[in-house]
Amino acid sequence: MQPPVGQGYGSRVSEVEPATDAQRIAAEARDRARFEEEALALADQVYRVARRLVGSREEAEDLVQETYARAFRSWRSFTPGTNMRAWLLRILTNLNVDRGRRVQRSPQMQPLEESDYYLANKLASTAGEEALEQEQVVERLSQDSVVTALSEISPQFREVVVLVDIGDFTYADAAQILDVPIGTVMSRLHRGRRALKQKLAEEALT
């Protein structure tokens, strides 16, 4: 007596299907582990941006942990082959805004930035043109004063300056991370750098 075709076919499927399922699960676990490793390898670079966006080391650590928790949960929404560092930073900057860490200063409180040569001219007028040489710059502006000046510029400008000048993101990446047009990135970057120099002039030369 021949076995019913359906049953035979069925039993073959029932042997094959769990294996396929298991393979699928194993493949997903591998993809996930690969994703997590790739993300963790970027942690130092993510932290360096976070650290300059918030006021303290503790806050930066919290922010990075929240970012990775969210990234690991939603790893499936990352498109392999795209820029993971930008993807992580987008999560991070959104979380930073959500948590209200980004303290907004009212716009009328923002002074108009001085021009681009401002700090150089200021240094040159107080200490001579030689003060603009590399060694002298390092001597006259302490690393602390740079960090303080950076923390004092308005958060909107700071975000862009930190992403581009410290995080090494392109204008296009920064625009994507912050979800603003590229022209906005450029104008905030230029104004932010000027504001930074103005703060540095106040910090270091008074």
């Binding site: 996930r32 582990a33 997590e36 963790l40 942690a43 130092d44 932290y47 360096r48 650290r51 300059r52 080391r57 650590e61 990075v64 942990q65 990775y68 928790a69 690991f72 949960r73 939603s74 499936r76 021009s115 681009d116 040569y117 700090l119 150089a120 001219n121 240094l123 040159a124 043109e129 603009l132 590399q134 710059v137 390092v138 502006l141 690393q143 740079v146 960090v147 950076l150 930190v162 000048d165 410290i166 204008y171 970057l189 230029h190 750098r193 930074l196 120099k197």
Partner: protein
């Protein structure tokens, strides 16, 4: 409104260092920088300053953080 060459040079300083100038603007800047000590020093200063800001602002990740991040691996989407 026409700008004085040094004002114009100052205006395109950021884009020059970011390498986002058009070819004509680039040539314009190069030609002025070739003649003008004042602007040349300020461009060099700006370059130094950017490097210095970067070096000063970069802080290494605290060693304990990596351990905490490793612990987050495998987090469930529903958790």
């Amino acid at each position: 409104m026409t700008l004085e060459p040094c004002d114009r040079c100052e205006e395109i300083l950021q884009d020059y260092l970011d390498r986002t100038l058009t070819n004509e603007e680039w040539a314009e800047a190069e030609s002025h920088l070739g003649d003008c000590d004042y602007c040349r020093r300020r461009y060099r200063f700006e370059e130094t300053l950017r490097r210095y800001v970067r070096v000063s602002a970069i802080e290494r990740m605290p060693p304990g953080l990596m351990v905490k991040l490793e612990e987050l691996r495998g987090l469930d989407a529903t958790a």
